[in-house]
Amino acid sequence: MSTESIAWSTPQVAAQRPVVERLHDWVTTVDHKRLGILYILYALVFLVIGGVEATVLRIQLIRPHNDFVSPQVFNRMFTMHGTTMIFFAVMPILFGFANYLIPLMIGARDMAFPRLNAFSFWLTAFGGLLLYFSFVGGDGLYGAGNAPDVGWFAYAPLTSKTFSVGHSTDFWTLSLLVSGFGSIGTAINIITTVLCMRCPGMTLGRMPLLAWLNLTMAGLVVLAISPLTAAQLMLLVDRYLGGHFFDTQAGGSAVMWMHFFWVFGHPEVYVLVIPAFAFASEIIPVFSRKAIFGYPVMVAATICIAFIGMSVWAHHMFTVGMSAAGNTFFVLSTMAIAVPTGIKIFNWLATIWGGQIDFKTPMLFCVAFLFQFLIAGLTGIMLGAAPFNWQLGNSYFVIAHFHYVIVGAILFTLFGAFYYWFPKMSGRMYNEALGKLHFWLFVIGFHLTFDFMHIPGILGMPRRIYTYEPGRGWDTWNLIITIGVFFQAAGLLVFIGNLLWSYRRGKVAGSDPWDAWTLEWSTTSPPPTYNFATIPAIKSRRPLWDLKHPEDPDWQYE
């Protein structure tokens, strides 16, 4: 009797343990689910910070000759906004989902290297702190701080000692260096987990697409982060050891930095967008009630994107004076990537075709993603035509294009993923009405901001200017763009409010609220530390479909 009551009351006891002890559990955890949630929470904080920075930028640009902030502050804000969003918001959120989901979806009890996992997370976390410490310590010993103001791709020679005095650039460099090692650790972990930890019966051809796509993403991380790390080391050598890699005043090469940066920077786009594809590839079938169309083609197209994606980097450099042959090559490779990307869109479309679409919040975000990603791809083709790029490059058109990718595609599917897996992670349902409110606010805000942002680019407005002259025909567009920001901010607040409220008050979700088909829905919500009491064995890509439809299982057709 007494032992039994103790056993049953453990969860309550755990909840009553002192805060310090519970925090200690989180800090020392090596559980993939907890690390996944840590990544996600940490990244959400940076998403809000980066969003505030973007708002500052947009208020400054609301009208010509505005003086909401000084040029110096503006330049720091766009540098911090870009660096924060790419390295400390979107990437960690995606790693968080990968960490949380991959073992559950492949029927494993944890990642391959749990302690490397924790180490990677804390490196990334430390990197973010380093970046923001520049606000305090950027000027070295002078007391007042200042954040880096060299832009998120930090073109040489702006980063040399001559043009960047103080330590703000050092904080930028070191933070990317440190978090870069964290990313590589996570990538190695994902690769190993996917290759070695799958449950019995799960051949490569039966893995959920999410696992395939994250495997590809992790491969790209290893290939892409390494040159970035090398470049940061060279920059440090330049700044402290008298090196001249990028120091143009001593014969160094500014163009070499561009190559190093974009050999990282372009694959990085795919590092971010492939996991977004992964979410869409899980969510769209479930809410259309159909198996994904063309699974092998989806896998092949992804790998194809990754390979071609490694050879397109200089399309960020069409204006630096490459030879005609160089420009032509990069037009070809850039255009080529449209083919596998198009194939993916068509396969999602075919998945919906003939289905029964249930427009729950996750699906709403994924459907919006399809439309927005289509447009992002088409503006990408325009930018890929080098001569057109000579006009559009470095203008607000480019900003509109890549925010269509990063917000319209990646952030939208991420929101979809939040709503889709929130019941699994928390054990509770989110509030559907608030979810839809979030969706509509965000759709309106997104389109006000980023649709209209193409126009000043076409009208000759370059990026990274803290103010502009009246009489250029840019004023009205900039006003509309800024108005959209407030809708997005409101949407983000509703989203966070929804998560907080639902975490405490939401309806209990049960293990499989979506009537879904992959393994994570076969265990409790939230899953126990060990994920599965007995490791599952599977026969097809949709093991839960087979369970639910014994008369018509998938493995008969695959």
Partner: protein, 353 residues
């Protein structure tokens, strides 16, 4: 040629009107930018060869992408509307379809063909712009980007000036294109005057080149398009495309040394004993600095500080007193001149015609 531009946009440009109403009365002497629909920097209102070729390609690319958009967008809308879950659906799952090789082949091959066409179109334009022959009568200008202003040198014409580029209009029968050599004195910059040509970066240790062949006279605007530091936003470009005789006259005036009266004015003395001459050149005097703009014919320019302010006596005085009032972060320090000295120096600057 002009019909095509009319097709693109046909809306009255309100901002130019407002600017004319507000600014026209006060300062009619300064050149106004050439009019274009929507914006004086509209990339779809080209008046010069590379920009026109790019515009042609853009229209082709836009047409193709618009067609793709129309098809895929309609399919998506159709699917989303048609296949939404009906209220009375009987709870049974729809038919499961796993894929189809023919369909996959179709939507692989068609995009490949489209991409090939787009690629060939782009490649042709790249070759014709980048391999354009340089006729012997081409005007040659060396553009040097500085934080945060532009230096222009006409090596064969012996002219050095700043911030306002003058080039001759080109007659299609006897083209006189302008070829620019692009250099940088410090960080990266980018030369972008949308109605004349696409942008090309100015990179230290990495000479670049570009060219333009304008068909219409007028003032064309642009600005630095590669982030170069604090005042990147106020590194504006002004290109004056002139009739050949006007251009020749301008060259003659610019190639004269500074017009100085025989008696050295008080202002000149102050200018020469203050650090001004370490950074500025006034040809024919002791001033031969190169860090800042050449001031020999300062008064021939409509603007100062790379377009940041109109070149009025008032603005000149404000600028010399404290450049950061007009352009915070500019590389010219406030020299802390007393008011009388300031007036004298301003008067001297105003004599540099």
């Amino acid at each position: 040629m002009s019909g095509r531009r009319k097709v693109a946009f046909a809306v009255v440009h309100i901002h130019v009107l407002i600017a004319l109403v507000l600014g026209g009365a006060a300062v009619p002497a300064f050149a106004e930018p050439a009019r274009a629909p929507w914006s004086p920097t509209n990339i779809f209102a080209p008046v010069s060869t590379p920009a026109e070729w790019i515009f042609d390609l853009s229209r082709f690319v836009l047409t193709v992408t618009a067609a793709i958009f129309a098809v895929v967008f309609s399919l998506l809308v159709y699917a989303v509307v048609k296949f939404r879950q009906r209220r009375g659906s009987n709870g049974r799952e729809p038919a499961q379809v796993y894929g189809s090789t023919q369909v996959e082949l179709a939507w692989t091959v068609i995009p490949i063909l489209i991409v090939l066409v787009l690629f060939l179109a782009a490649a042709r334009v790249i070759a014709s712009i980048q391999n354009a022959a340089r006729p012997s009568n081409a005007i040659e200008v060396t553009v040097i980007g500085h934080q945060f202003w532009w230096e222009y040198r006409y090596p064969s014409l012996k002219v050095v000036t700043a911030n306002e580029l003058h080039i001759p209009v080109s007659d299609p029968a006897h083209p006189t294109p302008t070829f620019l050599t692009l250099l940088s004195a410090d960080t990266d910059h980018s030369f972008w005057v949308p109605r004349l040509a696409g942008k090309t970066d100015l990179i230290p240790n990495h000479p670049n080149s570009t060219w333009m062949d304008p068909r219409e006279t007028g003032l064309y605007l642009g600005q630095c398009a590669q982030y170069c530091g604090t005042q990147h936003a106020k590194m504006l470009l002004r290109v004056y495309v002139q009739m050949p005789d006007e251009f020749d006259r301008w060259i003659q005036e610019q190639s004269r040394p500074a017009q100085i009266s025989d008696t050295i004015s008080e202002g000149q003395k102050i200018f020469e004993r203050t650090a001004c001459i370490n950074c500025h050149a006034v040809r024919g005097t002791a001033a031969n600095g190169r860090f800042g703009p050449d001031l020999t014919h300062l008064m021939s320019r409509d603007t100062i500080a790379s377009g940041a302010a109109l070149n009025t006596p008032d603005n000149l005085r404000r600028w010399v007193k404290d450049p950061s009032v007009i352009k915070p972060g500019s590389k010219m320090p406030a020299m802390g001149l007393s008011d009388p000295d300031l007036n004298a120096v301003t008067t001297y600057l105003e004599s540099l015609r």
